[in-house]
Amino acid sequence: MNERGTQSQRLTENQSIPPDARPLALQPRWRRDFPIDWEQDEYVSRRELVKFMVLTSAAFAVGQAWLAAKSLLVRRAATPRPLPIATVNELPVGGAKTFFYPEGSTPRLLIRTGPSAFVAYDQQCTHLLCPVVPAIEKNCLHCPCHNGWFDLQTGRPVAGPPQRALAKILLDVERDTVYATGVTEGT
């Protein structure tokens, strides 16, 4: 009420007069929100703009806090336990196999790049989720949808539309069995 009082005092006395000629203080609330005088209208417009800016900024701040809290909670989630996904002899060098790790995940891709070298990535391209296929001869993973290319050793995008690396599956080879032991999200 106070700032409204000073606002009406600040204005010149040559203000428009409501039809019933009563002072502004006795007028209904809507008359202050929809003033006829130019200067008061500018004031209301400025006030509306500031209100919009403050509320929008607050919404952004709350959103950021929510995202931070969510990422903290996800980080606390227990790492899935190791899962046997293949035997060493099952795949020839250059061969590939899909698997799910942890259970219910999106398809993952296990590739044997050498006699004792394995890599595994999420199979979904980080551009528009098409399945990627190995291109061993080029030392790459290829997404045929939009001609995206990922480095076979690191999962990082090297050409085409993808901007983020493929999620990498951590592997462990023990007694001729390949285990998936963890997932590193690509950034």
């Binding site: 204005l11 010149t12 040559n14 203000q15 428009s16 007069i17 409501p18 039809p19 000629a21 929809f34 006829i36 005088d37 130019w38 200067e39 209208d41």
Partner: protein, 219 residues
């Protein structure tokens, strides 16, 4: 920049010779978009040549702004009621119907209510409105009250109008004979008097629409 409060507008219909100079000049004002917003009304066309230039009276309690549902009509601190603000005006015609002086007109081509703004671009920098600067008989005059009273000692400027229980004071004065008694016009009674040639369609700038509906007969 504002119009000085001591500068007022004076309309003296008895001086009007119906030359239409004000109508032409109005459309040439830089901010009027080529649209003339002054209306030269005939008082009683069958019996008289008397004309009456109608400009916006610039009320202290503007009914047009009161009825505007889009909050588009604003009055500046110098008492000038401005043309509807283009981003807000929804061309609903409420102001056209509500104004007791019949001033606002709807520009159907622009979907914008346009009314006399006393040539705000000119008067706010110390110039006269276009109509007052061209009027050969000074039926439309712009200046201080003292100036005008010195020039026209037999006239009395009136800027107070009563509509029912509401009294409206205007920035524009109507000049009456100094000896004239105070005349209270009952507007609701006048509603039943015969029309003086004003048709419902006169409330819109609709020349182009008329031509589309009723093409001019070919010669």
């Amino acid at each position: 920049m504002t119009v000085p409060l001591d500068l007022e507008f004076f309309v003296d219909a008895s001086r009007c010779i119906g030359c239409q100079a004000c109508v032409q000049a109005c459309s040439e004002c830089d901010t009027h978009k080529g649209q003339s917003m002054i209306q030269l009304d005939f008082m009683d066309r069958a019996r008289s040549t008397q004309t009456f230039p109608v400009v916006c009276m610039h009320c202290d309690s503007p009914t047009c702004a009161e009825v505007c549902p889009a909050d588009a009509i604003k009055r500046t601190e110098d008492g000038i009621v401005q043309t509807a603000r283009k981003p807000r005006c929804i061309a609903c015609n409420n102001c056209v119907l509500a104004c007791p002086f019949g001033v606002p007109k709807m520009n159907t081509r622009m979907n914008l209510m346009m009314k006399c703004d006393m040539c705000y671009d000119r008067t706010s920098v110390g110039l006269k409105p276009m109509c007052a600067s061209v009027c050969p008989s000074q039926a439309l005059a712009f200046g201080t009250r003292a100036e005008l009273l010195a020039l026209r000692p037999h006239a009395k400027p009136v800027n107070s109008f009563r509509f029912g229980a509401q009294t409206i004071r205007t920035k524009v004065n109507i000049m009456l004979p100094a000896s004239a008694p105070l005349d209270v016009v009952d507007v609701t009674q006048a509603m039943y008097e015969p029309s003086i040639g004003q048709q419902p369609f006169d409330d819109a700038f609709m020349e182009d629409v008329f031509h589309r509906i009723r093409p001019r007969s070919k010669p």
